[in-house]
Amino acid sequence: MKLEVIIIDDDEIVILIQKKMIIKSSFHDKPLSFLNGKLGLDYLLDNKDKDKMYFILLDINMPVMNGWDFLDAINKWPVANDILIAVVTSSANESDKQKAYEYKQVIKYIEKPVNIQKLCELKQDKALKLFFTNEKG
């Protein structure tokens, strides 16, 4: 099974930073990115590779389709089974955090900015661990 990393955020600079961090932390070498939830959903509806694990860094406040609507949509429409999500928000808010963990795909709630340390912690998550078994530590 292969890992595919997707960034969904409406800010190009945020995407730039997250892409760099993902590559530098050897999390993934070719992360994809979409500027809102709708574009990300379209991609997932067209790509249901059974041999892939889709890992998504999802922003909450976005135009067109925000993070919450995206989470609702992937639980309603036929998309791939293997989807994991880290909700990435500019401000950690306890009620948002609780709401996020109510979705079965959400494994982490992260406050921006995404950095190497936060990504390395994610690698240790039990759902993602198997993709990084060849690495040391």
Binding site: D11, I13, V14, L16, I17, Q18, K20, M21, K24, N61, T89, S90, S91, N93, E111, K112, P113, V114, N115, I116
Partner: protein, 335 residues
């Protein structure tokens, strides 16, 4: 007046010496009264009008040299200062005896039928009755004062017709209608025309003994609409089934609550903006600096990143200015 406390003051108005002696001896049989004797209406009224002695009861002969009959009764009652009057007469006239009771006489005794014990009984009953009447009057006055002097508007309206039967001063002052206006209206007329479909919820159903508490709108005489909390309780008003209503104007209270809720909403909006929007460019700056500092970048990449940092800083600046503006608006609206 009883045997433990035999100090009843009795005024005996009697011109016939023999009758007076008889009455006096009867009274001495049962009690030890202080008896004052008046031989004419003139004498009796001057004793009563000086007010030096407080009498517990007046025994009145109906035929005096200077006054008699119905006129004597009316005249004595008018100077008695509330002291109960027992009529003693030689004539048996049932109709007149009944009439005399309505004129304010406490009891009507026939001289030939009096015995020491019947006289004693009549006097004791009269004095005790007077006490309870006085207590009743005081209690009625207390309740009337509670109603009339209440700082909150109150009124009484008839069950069924919903017509006003009584209103207090606060209701007249607050609603602007005069007492006469109120007494020619029914309580439905206080409800603004546009609310008449809901008016039935504002009053208790006929004969409903439950206390009804509702919030509804009322229209003052000057057309001003107020929000009131109405409480209606069933009472007996001069023999009619009625409701007594207390009206508390909560218009201002509701306005305050509205203003506070409005302000809370604005403050929540500001708090949300601060946590989410303010931190967004800040997080970008932090991320970009992290990249420049900890990762090898080409010079062109670095230059690009500095421009991104400046853009994010400008974005941050605009958001802070916007918050200041919104906060000022909240303050202005409360000024």
């Amino acid at each position: 007046m009883n045997k433990n406390n035999p100090t009843a003051n009795i005024l005996v108005v009697e011109d016939n010496a023999g009758d007076f002696i008889l009455v006096e001896s009867y009274l001495d049989h049962e009690v030890m009264p202080v008896i004052t004797h008046a031989k004419s209406f003139g004498e009796a009224s001057s004793i009563l009008l000086t007010g030096d002695v407080h009498f517990d009861v007046i025994l009145l002969d109906l035929t005096l040299p200077d006054n008699s009959g119905e006129k004597l009764i009316t005249d004595i009652v008018s100077v008695s200062g509330g002291c109960p009057v027992i009529v003693l007469t030689g004539y048996t006239d049932i109709e007149f005896s009944i009439k005399s009771l309505s004129l304010g006489v406490a009891d009507y005794l026939i001289k030939d039928e009096i015995s020491p014990s019947s006289l004693y009984k009549s006097i004791v009953y009269t004095i005790e009755r007077k006490k309870s009447i006085k207590e009743l009057e005081e209690s009625e006055k207390r309740y009337s004062d509670l109603f009339q002097l209440s700082p909150q508007p109150m009124w009484v309206y008839e069950s069924g017709t919903l017509e006003f039967l009584d209103v207090n001063a606060a209701a007249i002052k607050h609603y602007g209608y005069s007492r006469e206006d109120f007494l020619s209206m029914d309580v439905k007329e206080l409800i603004p025309d546009e609310d008449t479909t809901e008016e039935s919820s504002c009053f208790p159903k006929e004969h409903d003994p439950l206390i009804l508490q509702v919030i509804c709108r009322h229209k003052k005489k000057n057309g001003e609409i107020i929000q009131v909390e109405l409480q209606s309780n069933i009472i007996d008003f001069k023999g009619r089934e009625a409701y007594i209503a207390l009206s508390i104007d909560i218009t201002e209270r509701l306005n305050y609550i509205g203003a506070i809720e409005n302000q809370n909403k604005k403050l929540q909006e500001i708090a949300w903006i601060q946590s989410h929007v303010v931190r967004a460019p800040l997080a970008k700056i932090m991320g970009l600096i992290d990249l420049i500092q900890n990762h090898k970048l080409s010079d062109t990449e670095k230059d690009d990143y500095f421009i991104h940092i400046l853009d994010a800083a400008n974005e941050f600046d605009a958001i802070v200015k916007d918050i200041v503006k919104k906060t000022e608006l909240v303050q202005l609206n409360n000024a």
